[in-house]
Symmetry: C2
Subunit: 377 residues, 2 copies
């Protein structure tokens, strides 16, 4: 089967680039002497996971209990569910644990800790918990130095849960516009959890796990002393947001959306393709970056980019391709029926729109495999 | 089963509002004396379709061949696939037609017409085709008065396809900021296809179908003389983009995302919920409207909105709820574990993130049914 035989749109994954991205991150973290707990919310595929994990039961991170179910069903056991746990998921967590999953969870406040501890006692399930630390003010978590940390730690440890440690995610690393900014974020991220771990230990509470994670900070961190594990996910595939902040090059981007030219509006310089926002997602993550990539950079069927050709607008099943306003070149000749591959702003969001990966290697047009992926909750 | 027993996030559909929206559009188009060919790209569910269609084999519109397959598999036969057909889908179209689907397609250029006619002759399949007309410059189509119309019409009619007529979609009606603007768009949309139909007929070509469609123009059109059918989809559910341009009220919005409070950042006035952009989609369709609704307006579990409380930012599985900058009221007291329902910017995009509808009626918290929905291509 060749790309040209597929119905479009569909999601293409370049396995050679995936392997290269995976090996690069592994080598980095090995040099830094820290474990990797890859975040599989980007990939949502056991076939990708098998290329990311060294051993089938290596630790992973997930963003939904459906991912936890799925990966556990495929033999992964050590799973961190890295979204603050709500009471309507307590029983599901315990059910997975009774089946043998070494599932751990996170939370960041005393109400959630008390509720989970009450469930743990009732269910007879000493659920392992990491306390979420807020390293950069972008979302959830207890800020380093806040008194709530010890209160939550004690409620968990004394209430019937297993206090495993602390975790944080430097979400603001995505908003940096230079490598120096990301390096500073990596230090801030590390210090936030290392300081919090020290506060717990000083209070006589256990804290074996000190977990950080974001693809930008994992890519540029220089010293992770005191950190026990790194979570990262986007690095496997990379995307235009990552390229825009210097984490990868366009050539590292392993996923693209295959589309077909439907028609033209020649006087406007538009090429219309059958891949719209349903195929790309509505993610416009490069909008606030130095270079706005619209809905994505257009490549030929071999994956070679025309860096001046982007998807400037999208309807549900239509994409409008046009040259950037400042382009110096000409519109490539793409007749009706021509195939293009569009590099996404955000691999997590674009991946979520598709039921499977069509796997290729490099510029080869041959589909070597179709890897299903999951969605929903 | 009650809302409070669900794991969140999930998609809630208020069947009473759906029925009301469906009845209102039917009554409008009956008064205007024009047929309805509902667009099922918003709903992607046979259970919704059954509440929209008067008879099981009423005509429908779809945006993917997967939708065509799915609805045909459930007994719908008269299906318009309303995205310009690419050659890699010709065989799929003919396969569906051989199985008994009365599937028609669209295109807007001579290359596509010649290619489809060649396929039609080879396959012995007189595929019915509508020519797409560009009524407002927003996307695809042949502008009214362009010579290409007759050229394409002849290539189809003489080449082996069945020339069925013309169709257009007033996509720019979504960008109007007042009802008068939408009414003007409805006239422009109608005139574009009625004029094009006349040009085809004057040239001796058949044009039984004259098709228009968008929820805003269908809601405010006052005279559809010469139009044979209206396609619209979002009207079934409504959403904040439609409310922002006066097509519906907040109370008409039939879909919402159910989420649970995970925690707070109290000094910032943030409530964190377990519904992020994966549950809401990345659609920010109200961003350019008079009132930016962020990622959606927050309601209580009964569906009653706090109009000043919106999802101001979203990560993959986290939503940040906060008061609008100009809010006069206070943040409602929403403890950890509290349920909220979030009205979406764009029903098509939010629906696409979910595998099913949890069906309720009005403020009742009881789930009366779970309706699966499809995705992908």
């Amino acid at each position: 089967m060749k790309l040209a035989q597929l119905e479009t749109p569909c999601l293409v994954l370049d396995e050679a680039k995936l392997e290269r991205n995976v090996a690069r991150m592994r080598a980095r973290l090995d040099r830094l002497g820290v474990a990797l707990r890859p975040h599989l919310k980007t990939a949502k595929s056991i076939d990708v996971a098998r290329r990311v994990l060294r051993r089938p039961d290596d630790p992973i991170t997930v963003s939904t209990l459906k991912e936890a179910e799925y990966f556990f069903g495929h033999g992964v056991r050590d799973i961190l569910y890295a979204v603050g746990l709500t009471p309507n998921k307590f029983e599901h967590v315990s059910a997975l644990r009774r089946r043998g999953a070494r599932l751990s969870v996170i939370l960041d406040n005393i109400d959630a800790a008390d509720a989970l501890a009450a469930h743990a006692r009732k269910a007879g399930d000493r659920i392992p918990v990491l306390i979420e630390i807020d390293c950069d003010g972008h979302r959830s978590g207890i800020a380093p130095g806040e008194r709530a940390l010890l209160e939550v730690g004690r409620a968990l440890a004394e209430g019937g849960c297993e206090l495993r440690g602390v975790m944080t995610h430097a979400g603001n690393s995505y908003n940096q516009d230079c490598v120096e900014g990301i390096k500073a974020m990596a230090i801030q991220e590390r210090d936030a959890v290392v300081d919090s771990a020290r506060a717990l230990r000083d209070a006589g509470l256990p804290c074996p796990v000190v977990s950080v994670g974001s693809t930008p900070t994992a890519t540029f961190a220089e010293d992770l002393a005191g950190v026990s594990e790194v979570r990262a996910g986007v690095y496997m595939f990379c995307d235009l947001v990552m390229a825009g902040i210097g984490v990868c090059t366009l050539d590292d981007i392993a996923v693209s959306v295959l589309g077909t030219v439907v028609g033209h509006q020649r006087e406007k310089g538009w090429i219309i393709v059958d891949a719209g926002w349903m195929a790309m997602s509505r993610d416009r993550g490069t909008m606030k970056q130095k270079t706005d990539q619209g809905y994505g950079i257009v490549c030929d069927a071999q994956g070679r980019p025309w860096p001046e050709l982007i998807m400037t607008d999208a309807n549900q099943e239509h994409g409008i391709l046009a040259l950037r306003p400042d382009a110096r070149g000409c519109l490539p000749d793409l007749p009706v029926g021509a195939l293009v591959r569009i590099l996404p702003n955000h691999a997590c969001a674009t991946g979520a729109q598709h039921p499977a990966y069509q796997v290729v290697r490099g510029a080869a047009q041959e589909i070597s495999a179709v890897w299903p992926r999951i969605g929903g909750w």
